[in-house]
Symmetry: C2
Subunit: 507 residues, 2 copies
């Protein structure tokens, strides 16, 4: 029998588990309908007649309004519905949906083997990070990193790799612009990423705007940690200086060992990209379940993507324990609303063609699926993009939803492992922290067997409960953090550029 998946008993649409032909019978729980037309996998069918102007309910909330009379069994999508208004940021609730710790699922592992750091989160990897203060230095640093990998790294078996942290910022930008704070903070925090073990290695050019004091403490700006290319006598001297410094850093990194650590030393990030209508049924709720386990165990879990939270802001604010946290949430949302408005767009410009092909009719539906990855724990803190959290627990880090901008931003916040949910599939990866790819549909896992690390599809097919998927994913997260599991993106070296979020002017 054809199956339509329903998340909440109020819902008047169901999501096709597989393609359903026209005129076929399909069930959604106790409800039984006949399709009026073909309902492709992940797309929605009306479970009853919905009049023009009527609410389209999924996840128990209004995701859209019918643009015309919709008969039971007909396809419901962006072509016959319209987008609800964006929730107001005034009078947002707080403290009305606070889960107690003992209401969260209990983790069956409470420690992990990680690389401890003197301060902040522990490392999941032991990496030499070489950070540039300006894009001008990128070519030299890439070439040097290649040589370090070939010539030096084999002698340091306890070091996992060498990462050239290049980015587009540093010069040719209005460093005096108010919003320069964001990319500067990102570079500052990337230098002290937990996977780099406190070993700072920073390469500047010498005439750039973002001088060392912008991104380093005065005490760290020493020949031990900093090379200025304009001070080196040519290409060969640059290479020699970089290799010499790398060797000293590698010697110290080589001493690092994994130790048994509490979960409170773990800082992971959640992100979704290339979502489909299954993302909110399988992959994201499974990640949310694992997130709740981690949070209960004392870990820090970050979720982000402002435009994929905006339409559920009232639901997230209700999980803020106090007015201060709620107000920080509102501030970040207001900032982003204004940012989009200045560009003449709004949150609906988030949705991509692939989302719609994957059955997501609009940003509200996408959002309701996206926030499932944040589980049910209270919001411990709201931070700006690339800020380091100061608390443990569930953190909302207000970055753009763009995968390739959210990733570097979470990295800068100290994230040492990212769980990445996808419905359409992406080879996305980060060199500085492992990325676990979780797919929403078994078909994708079958199609991309050597790219998907975890398949949450069986949750929709009845092969696994959400709890089982969540617990299995929790285990895989810890195994990956411990270096026992190597994600596919690391096996193939599929790494994305570090696209920093810079909203200030380019000069």
């Amino acid at each position: 029998m054809n199956k339509l998946i329903v998340i909440n008993e109020k819902d008047n649409v169901g999501v096709a588990a597989e393609d359903i032909p026209a005129g076929a019978e399909a069930t959604a729980g106790k409800c039984r309908i006949r399709t009026a037309e073909c309902i492709p996998q992940a797309h929605k069918a009306a479970l009853r007649d919905i009049p023009k102007g009527g609410e389209i309910l999924r996840y128990g909330v209004v995701i859209a309004y019918a643009d015309k009379d919709l008969k039971a069994g007909s396809l419901v999508n962006e072509n016959n519905t319209r987008l609800p208004a964006c929730p107001s940021l005034e009078n947002l609730p707080y403290g009305t949906d606070i889960r107690r710790p003992d209401e969260l699922p209990k983790p069956h592992r409470t420690s992990w083997m990680g690389f401890p750091n003197a301060q902040g989160p522990a490392g999941t990897r032991n990496l030499l990070g070489i950070v540039t203060t300006v894009q001008c230095a990128a070519g030299v640093v890439n070439a040097a990193a290649d040589r370090i990998r070939r010539e030096l790294l084999p002698r340091y078996p306890h070091v996992d790799g060498v990462v050239a942290v290049n980015h587009p910022y540093g010069c040719g930008v209005a460093i005096d612009a108010k919003e320069a704070e964001l990319p500067i903070r990102a570079v500052r925090n990337l230098i002290r990423h937990p996977n780099f073990g406190g070993e700072k290695m920073v390469i500047g050019l010498g005439c750039e705007k973002m001088t060392y004091p912008y991104v380093m403490d005065e005490k760290d700006i020493t020949p031990e940690n900093v090379i200025t290319l304009q001070d080196c006598g040519g290409q060969q001297a640059m290479m020699e200086a970089i290799l010499r410094m790398a060797e000293r850093k590698l010697e110290r990194l080589e001493q690092r060992r994994r130790e048994m650590l509490p979960l409170s030393s773990l800082l992971i990030g959640m992100q979704c990209g290339g979502s489909d209508a299954f993302s909110g049924i399988t992959a994201n709720p499974a990640a949310g379940y694992a997130s709740d386990m981690l949070v209960r165990g004392g870990a820090t879990v970050m979720f982000s993507e402002v435009t994929e939270v905006r339409d559920a802001v009232h639901l997230i604010s209700a999980r803020c324990p106090d007015a201060f946290t709620r107000d920080r949430l509102r501030e970040e949302m207001e900032w982003f609303d204004a940012y989009l408005a200045a560009g003449g767009v709004d949150r609906e410009s988030n949705t991509a063609p692939g989302n719609k092909q994957g059955g997501l009719s609009n940003i509200v539906e996408k959002t309701m699926g996206a926030i499932a990855k944040a589980g049910t724990a209270p919001i411990a803190e709201v931070t700006g993009p690339a800020e380091r959290p100061t608390k443990h627990g569930l953190i909302f880090s207000a970055t753009p939803a763009s995968d390739i901008v959210c990733g570097p931003s979470q990295l800068a916040s100290g994230m040492t492992l990212q769980v990445f949910m996808t419905g359409r599939g992406t080879p996305y990866g980060l060199a500085a922290a492992p990325v676990l790819k979780v797919c929403s549909r078994s078909a994708l896992q079958k199609h991309w067997r050597d790219l998907i690390d975890f398949n949450a599809g069986p949750v929709a097919e009845g092969g696994m409960t959400l709890e089982e998927a969540g617990r299995a994913l929790f285990d895989l997260i810890l195994d990956t953090a411990e270096g026992k599991y190597i994600p596919y993106s690391d096996r193939f070296g599929f790494y994305n550029d570090l696209c920093l979020f810079n909203t200030g002017p380019i000069t």
Copy 2:
């Protein structure tokens, strides 16, 4: 005798050719002064007493006003002067400074050996360009390009290299924003870069916003030219598909041969970065002389960097032959003024600490040196960033001055060789087109012997006239275009990321 360099007889400051100690005698043409304090190399000394509020004249124009009484022989810099107001964009002149072709220096070579293309400029290199429509695909394309270089390229001796054209655009952006036009145009034009010989190879993910029709003509969107990663069954299938397509493209590229071509088939770009006070005395005017020779010979020469033209807009507009070209110049300047103002800054946020250390007191002085690279030819056309010029001659392409943003933008405009003037030094390079590095001071060439391709320093030292430097640079440009000279950045593979100019919102 200590020398102070003076460009124009009206000037009341001179630039120290070398460090001059306090109390030393120094000459500036017929003028002879005693320094009141140390004048470091490239910094300015007052040639006569200048009262508070008085004009500081260099290049025969007001570059600043004295902030206090300045005695002859004293150091004049940003600490004792203030910035003049920005020239108005109203009533800009046009047609009042038009050099006739026969007034430009005559090229002694009127042809070159290049790779002809069916349309547009000829190639200076024969490259396989693999362009992504979205950053998500970058990891796969980088890994595939490495394999193509190792496994396939050795069998195609007439192909110079493989370039992975990755960029931060394509998804997670407001593709419906008005300003999305800029990055979309850039990717569209990068696909058809003259050095890629008309062989289109485009890799998409499949769910991104920037679908193929944004950047390709319908007739080109075929399995011959396009691979969608989500259509490939996993990592291995992706690699095989890319390598297979690369092989077909390499077979065709292998047939390309250099032919004797007129200069009109050459499109080169001029840029300066890390400028100092010598840039406007040596490197930029030498480049300007070479530019004039190229323009007289029928070539197309592009200069850019709006914030380094803005303060000389009246001088450039006077070189526009008609009101239309003048109005296009004004439009681009107005757009950029508004763009900077929206970020709360203005053109003065262009100058970097290195510029000031190099003796450039403000953006006006920097601009007067920067426009010297545009020589004296009339402005044939003004284009927006990443637009392809439709005319031959001298083109003003209105890109930001940021080296790493101007470079990719000129590339997209079809530039096949960039001449890059520097006073402070940068290892900057582009994978898709050779970059010739020209330094402004002999000291830099001595310091960076294996990074600087051409030293214009002797112009200041009396070892070379400007004409000699310009003619030698003209020769080096053609030798490089012909593949006879390989710039240092290509020898070492020092390549910068392609940072596209995107002013639209990230979602």
